[in-house]
């Protein structure tokens, strides 16, 4: 137990290694194993598309073009990356405490619904204030939603994976009820939605880019989450809970406080994603908010091995895969499910590669 605690700070920050060679070895291990797994993914997926009748090289070249090949493709990728950064954090943060939360979709939907309701109620206040209040409301709603799953676990022993997933269904049903009933804009005939925010109250694009500000929020949130978890006492405590709950309790940490705050922050990230969807894309809350970003976030967090910094490149990769999926359909007549297959292969490969850590002597500390 003591040994485990002593090892924590050394293993936990592979991307900011110290100056010792051992740290470099561990850092290389943390990067090369996932990269190897992704290369294996590329080979298996290549075989899959070949079996589906497409040329693997052409497929990859199209994917590159669709995701990063032109300036338009880059913006397409970045736009799709934005919500995924935030929903992946909803999984990665609680994972530090050993909690497997998969209901980010529910927090996103609640964040979108509540921020849209606040926006509709306060229309007329200056846009910057309106958006600020909407963001706070959305984060509070999403945070409360995941904190609810955390509380059920903490105080009632309910498995947080199941409860967060079921809460997502409740959130979607609640949103549908509200936009079709009490919060419905009477003018939204065939697409029930909350009253529109209006163009003046929307979050615009990042200057010079056709990508909304959600991308910047997501990047800031990932960096903040990394600092919080790796560079603060709070984060150290949280990781200690994840490493060994009993040891953490004996060391005098409040497991309840750490869990509840972390769950709230996780939900707040997804809630912010929902608010951005409302304020930057849809202009109101409606059933279209349920687009599966919360579920893609689960894959991303696991592939990033729950590291908030690694979430950034992985989310970018998933954004790129999504952006290129259309081109595969249009040029190669591959079905939409092709990119789901790719995501699934990547997920399995990364999970399988987890067993390789510590197996290669080159990565092991000497002495």
């Amino acid at each position: 137990m003591v040994d485990q605690i002593a090892r924590l700070p050394r293993t936990a920050s592979p991307l900011f290694p110290g100056f010792s060679l051992d740290s470099v070895r561990r850092g290389a291990e943390a990067i090369l194993i996932p990269v190897g797994a992704l290369l294996a993914t590329a080979i298996v997926f290549g075989l899959f598309v070949a079996a589906a009748g497409a040329d693997p090289l052409e497929t990859y070249s199209l994917m590159y073009r669709g995701a990063f090949g032109t300036w338009f493709s880059w913006q397409n990728t970045l736009q799709r990356t934005a919500p995924l950064l935030l929903t992946a954090l909803c999984v990665a943060l609680p994972a530090k405490l050993g909690l497997v939360i998969i209901g980010g979709e529910g927090a996103l939907v609640m964040g979108g619904l509540v921020s849209a309701a606040v926006g509709a109620a306060l229309i007329g206040v200056p846009p910057w204030l309106l958006l600020g209040l909407m963001a706070m409301a959305g984060m509070a709603a999403g945070g409360a939603w995941i904190a609810l799953a955390g509380a059920l676990r903490q105080f009632r022993g309910v498995n947080e994976t199941i409860s967060s997933l079921l809460l997502a269904y409740i959130a979607i049903a609640l949103m549908n009820h509200m936009v079709e009933g009490p919060l419905r804009d009477p003018a939204s005939l065939n697409k029930p939605s909350t009253p529109p925010l209006g163009e003046a109250n929307m979050i615009g694009s990042i200057p010079g880019l056709d990508v909304h500000w959600g991308l910047v929020f997501g990047l800031i949130a990932c960096l903040a989450a990394y600092v919080l978890m790796q560079r603060t006492t709070f984060g150290f405590g949280a990781r200690m809970v994840g490493g060994n709950v009993r040891a953490a309790r004996m060391a005098g940490l409040s497991v309840t406080t750490l869990s509840m705050i972390t769950c709230f922050l996780a939900g707040a990230s997804a809630g912010l994603a929902g608010m951005v969807e409302v304020a930057a894309v849809h202009g109101s809350a409606k059933a279209s908010l349920v687009a599966g970003y919360g579920y893609t976030g689960i894959l991303i967090a696991f592939i990033a091995r729950q590291n908030p910094l690694a979430v950034i490149p992985v989310a970018l990769m998933f954004g790129g895969i999504a952006a290129s999926g259309g081109l595969l359909q249009r040029r190669l007549d591959l079905p939409d499910a092709t990119i789901l297959v790719l995501q699934g292969i990547a997920f399995v490969m990364i999970l399988a590669s987890d067993t390789l850590y510590g197996r290669f002597r080159i990565f092991q500390p000497r002495g």
Partner: protein, 380 residues
């Protein structure tokens, strides 16, 4: 003890392979362009975007079937993308079709694509024509390069109702519906009015599933209706597959919707209300190729060829066929208003007075928020 060597042979090979792939891959990706862009000069490239799978036996398949016919026209190139979410995803899909595939005529076919997605992209690309299925295009309000098209498929549902009215023994019909929105309510009402034109004691039990694609709930709703004594079912969800297959398995009759589901229910399928989108798409494409602007508020029903009915199934009686054909003939002649008074709502209020009637193009019908007498269910 191999393990004492710093690098095992397998690790070294792996590393080498990794490096080789790492250097070779970018070369393969940037070199050689498999994208002929010169082709686009003469061809008209048309983009279709679907919200669900294009082989769903339903809403999306109805569009995809028309796209497949367009594909065979000379000088037309069709690009399609399925399962595109009604988020910024669809905006990027439209832009991708325009900037990577040179599409100049785009059909985003799902209702939720209209506002804000299509309107936003259309402002950005004023030279590209966008036509949306189902949206309420308003000249002067929406961008000049946009438009919308839709069909009065409630005519098909009225004919479904006549077939159901003749086939039912229990006098109880069922309707599995997605959401209580005007388009859906109009179909439920038309179906019920058609059935009650055969026998005014017939009722239609409606169940709302809450969303457009809810296979499990659709199966539950169908089973629930059959258990309650319903013996003919129709639906308005994106894919009628589950409803039709479940009904066939339970040994009751079905009326189809969106596309032809006869292959799923060879015994119980009576007839169906189908879209005939090729009429619209062909017109749009021909106008565009001739250098004219395609229509911007395009609506039509049976007589315009926007709607068709599935061939009658084996269970349809000769009287039933005769009754349907008589009404269909009036529809083809353009003098069959479905919503002709007296019509009372199922809450007992007279909504359309005797002698009053609403033609298909009447905007009042587009805001329908009531259910006709004979429907068991409520709009909220």
């Amino acid at each position: 003890m191999k393990g004492h060597h710093g690098i095992s042979r397998r690790t070294a090979l792996g590393l080498l392979a990794g490096t080789a792939a790492g250097t070779a891959l970018p070369g393969a990706l940037s070199g050689g362009s498999p994208f002929p862009s010169a082709l686009a000069a003469k061809n008209l490239t048309v983009g279709f975007i679907y919200v669900g799978p294009r082989d769903d036996f339903g809403y999306n398949q109805a569009h995809a079937e028309a796209a497949a016919i367009l594909r065979k026209m000379s000088g037309v190139k069709v690009v399609e993308e399925e399962k595109v979410a009604e988020t910024s995803d669809v905006q990027k899909t439209m832009e991708s079709m325009i900037s990577l595939d040179d599409a100049t005529l785009v059909f985003p076919t799902s209702f939720g694509y209209f506002d804000p997605h299509m309107l936003k992209v259309a402002q950005k690309y004023p030279d590209i024509e966008f036509r949306h299925c189902g949206g309420m295009f308003k000249a002067g309000v929406h961008p000049a390069n946009t438009g919308s098209y839709f069909g009065y498929i409630d005519e098909g549902q009225y004919l479904n109702g006549i077939a159901a009215g003749h086939a039912t023994k229990s006098k109880k019909l069922g309707f599995v519906a997605a959401k209580p929105i005007p388009q859906v309510l109009r179909n439920i009402n038309a179906f019920t009015l058609g059935a009650r034109s055969v026998d005014p004691t017939i009722t239609t039990q409606v169940i709302f599933t809450g969303d457009w694609s809810m296979p499990v709930k659709e199966a539950e709703a169908t089973n629930g209706l059959v258990n309650a004594g319903v013996d003919v079912i129709t639906c308005h969800v994106d894919s009628p597959k589950v409803v039709v297959e479940t009904s066939e398995r339970r040994g009751i009759y079905t009326c189809g919707y969106h596309a032809n589901q006869a292959p799923l229910a060879p015994k119980g399928y009576l007839t169906g209300a189908e879209w005939n989108w090729i009429t619209v798409y062909k017109d749009f494409v021909e106008k565009t190729k001739a250098g004219e602007k395609p229509g911007q508020f395009v609506r039509g029903g049976m007589k315009d060829g926007f709607i068709k009915t599935s061939a009658y199934g084996p269970a349809v009686s000769p009287e039933s066929k005769a009754a349907s054909e008589a009404v269909k003939a009036k529809m083809m002649a353009g003098d069959f208003p479905i919503f002709a008074g007296p019509i009372r709502t199922n809450a007992g209020k007279e909504i359309i007075a005797a002698g009053q009637s609403y033609g298909q193009t009447d905007m009042w019908l587009e805001g329908m928020d009531w259910l006709t007498e004979g429907v068991i269910g409520s709009t909220s």
